[in-house]
């Protein structure tokens, strides 16, 4: 069973990486967006295999669902077919990007070497546990206050975007 899980984990991991590469390499933004969906779904599968079903579900609902729909909506609304390159995006930009990328790879490598990449034991990331914490007295206030935050954003967005009845 553990072997089967490990195999699945590598398969989905490879899928996520491959799709991410496709996303970056692809010139058509719509295809890039679809490749990103594959990455996100594969990541969700990896989370599920690691025993975090709640994060797996969130990954699908929030990222693969809501956010991707938003991306595709904008792409189709603007009718972008090919990548538009901003002027001035030249060699310096690429060098900086490569430098930062190398830094990130080095950082990940050093962490993998220095710290034992052991999974924390007895870690419960089930939906039940998350719900317990969310409705725990300590976080209850924050959880409720977030609703005001969302309402304020909603009212603000509508106030800024609504067509003026007078004009």
């Amino acid at each position: 069973m553990a072997l089967f899980q490990a195999i699945l984990c590598y398969v989905f991991g490879a899928l996520a990486l491959g799709a991410a590469l496709v996303m970056v390499a692809q010139r058509n933004p719509t295809y890039s967006a679809f490749a990103l969906i594959v990455t996100l779904v594969s990541l969700s599968a990896v989370f599920g295999l690691f025993g975090a079903p709640f994060i797996a579900a969130l990954q699908i609902i929030v990222y693969a669902g809501a956010i991707m729909v938003l991306f595709l909506f904008v792409l189709m609304l603007l009718n972008v077919r090919t990548e538009v390159r901003a002027p001035g995006e030249g060699r310096v930009f690429k060098l900086v990007a490569i430098g930062l990328g190398a830094l990130l790879v080095g950082e990940i490598g050093s962490v993998l070497v220095a710290a034992r990449p052991a999974l924390a034991g007895g870690f419960d990331a089930s939906a039940r546990q998350v719900a317990r914490l969310l409705f725990d007295a300590r976080y209850l206030y924050v959880f409720e206050a977030t609703s005001i935050l969302i309402l304020a954003s909603l009212v603000g967005a509508i106030a800024l975007a609504k067509r003026d009845p007078s004009s």
Partner: protein, 497 residues
């Protein structure tokens, strides 16, 4: 903990304001087409009700109540909540005539003001970093939208966009700092973080993440402190995180600018004080010099920037930057005297800014606002009372005796001197002298120059007149009789220890 043991009293003022916000939205929705819901009256009632709630809590057994280690109704929170609600009431009083004259009279305006105030109330009472962050975001999101409410003015849109982008950026800094502190100590509660940092700051979680040595833990804690400092620096508009302030203050509707200068600054300083004094006291030796440097550059650049402005709103924006610097000189001296001085100064500063921006708002007619010195020429003949009030505010901003601003600055600088930061006080006083030039220039224009052309300004409405009277009274009373407020400020500062 069972739900029955939840003590909701600390939340009560915020709940009243939030419910009023909902009522304003619903009232607009149920008003027949073309009609206007009494949004301003509802908002005033809600804010006054919340103020009564704060007073009742302060006088009763609710004083010092804590909701589940995350929200407190201690003296510090109650002091700030009373201040913020008073600011809200004055801002709403100023708004009615201004919104009518600039054709921005929409139901959402008052709802957003109320939500911003809910955020501010939460910000000063939160004992826990996640709650601080959520409150900070509620306040910020509402104010971003308010800044852009005059959609036909490109400046207003620019203000909203700049404020939104830099503000979100600063929130990310703040959040990163919170995450690092959580990673180190495994806690988000301010008191428990302080405990953890004092004990060497290595939680089991941090040890598992590879932070093995105490030195590494201290380094991480310092990075977190720096990130929090950047986050708060943006919100209080201290140099070098002030770039957004002049554009946002100038472009936002003037009554919103008044709310930003008075309310957002007070709430941000409240959270700034609480987080740094309650969670990071063991690192004070590290962050105090940094705050001192920020205070110096903020005072200098704020005042020099204000000298160069011809637009009055921009001038007051730079002056607001400079005043963040004055306040930070006392933050270096906190806790104790410094904290009291900051609390006292925030009250006078709020009154002065509401009055100053309020005077501009009160004069606005048919979308035209007084923004230049020549607009102020001869105002003493056309609006003698308003000119007198504006003079009081400008004199108080300069820090001339018999104004609240003088007493406030005296406390700020004497706190800095007693804490051994005399150089900060000297720079502050020198810069106050510089500031006299640009503040008093306006007074000279109002009194010494003859009025030009026809009177283009609006009559001062009842609400605005009331608001300006309140502000003037506060400034003058605090200038001659600061004792009672100082005693409250002392009690409030005491609850941070």
């Amino acid at each position: 903990m069972t739900p029955a043991s939840l003590d909701l009293r600390p939340l009560f003022p915020a709940i009243v304001v939030a419910v009023t916000g909902l009522a304003v939205l619903l009232a607009q929705a149920f008003t027949p087409k073309g009609g206007r819901a009494p949004a301003a009256a509802l908002s005033l009632a809600g804010l006054a009700g919340a103020l009564v709630a704060v007073v009742v809590i302060a006088g009763g057994r609710g004083r010092g109540a804590v909701l589940a280690t995350s929200v407190a109704a201690d003296d510090f929170a109650l002091f700030f909540q009373a201040l913020i609600l008073a600011i809200g009431i004055v801002a709403v009083l100023l708004s009615t005539s201004y919104l009518r004259e600039t054709a921005t009279d929409r139901g959402e305006y008052y709802a957003l003001v109320l939500f911003a105030i809910v955020g501010m109330l939460g910000l000063v009472s939160a004992l826990e970093l996640v709650a601080v962050f959520v409150a900070l975001e509620i306040m910020s999101v509402a104010v971003y939208a308010l800044a852009g409410l005059q959609r036909d003015r490109p400046e207003s849109q620019e203000a909203a966009l700049k404020y939104f982008i830099t503000g979100s950026f600063s929130s990310a800094f703040f959040l990163y700092g919170v995450a690092l502190l959580y990673g180190l100590t495994g806690r988000t509660s301010l008191a428990l973080i302080a405990q953890g940092l004092r004990a060497g700051g290595i939680a089991p979680a941090a040890a598992a993440a590879g932070v093995a040595s105490a030195g590494a833990a201290t380094a991480l804690a310092l990075v977190a402190t720096a990130l929090l400092l950047v986050g708060f620096g943006f919100k209080v508009a201290s140099v070098p995180f002030h770039m957004w302030a002049p554009d946002a203050y100038e472009g936002a509707p003037t009554t919103v600018t008044a709310l930003m200068a008075a309310g957002v600054k007070a709430a941000a300083f409240g959270a700034f004080l609480r987080v740094f004094l309650q969670a990071l006291p063991s690192l004070a030796a590290h962050w105090q010099p940094a705050v001192a440097v920020l205070a110096i550059v903020t005072m200098i650049i704020g005042n020099l920037g204000a000298l160069a402005q011809s637009n009055l709103k921009r001038m007051l924006a730079y002056s607001s930057v400079a005043h963040a610097g004055y306040l930070m000189t006392a933050l270096v001296a906190a806790p104790g005297l410094g904290t009291e001085a900051i609390l006292f100064y925030l009250v006078t500063y709020a009154a002065v800014n509401l009055g100053g921006f309020g005077a501009f708002a009160a004069l606005t007619r048919s979308g035209r606002e007084p923004v230049t010195l020549s607009d102020m020429a001869g105002l003493s003949e056309r609006r003698p009372l308003l000119a007198a009030a504006l003079t009081v505010f400008l004199v108080s901003l300069t820090g001339v005796p018999v104004s609240g601003g003088f007493v406030g600055k005296f406390y700020l600088f004497s706190a800095a001197v007693r804490a051994g930061y005399a150089h900060l006080a000297i720079i502050g006083m020198l810069m106050s002298v510089v500031s006299a030039y640009y503040y008093l220039r306006v007074v000279v224009a109002m009194y010494m120059e003859p009025p030009v052309g026809e009177d283009p300004w609006s009559r001062v409405g009842t609400g605005a007149a009331l608001a300006l009277t309140i502000s003037t009274t506060v400034v003058l009373v605090l200038g001659v009789y600061p004792g009672p407020l100082m005693a409250w400020a002392r009690a409030a500062a005491g609850s941070l220890r």
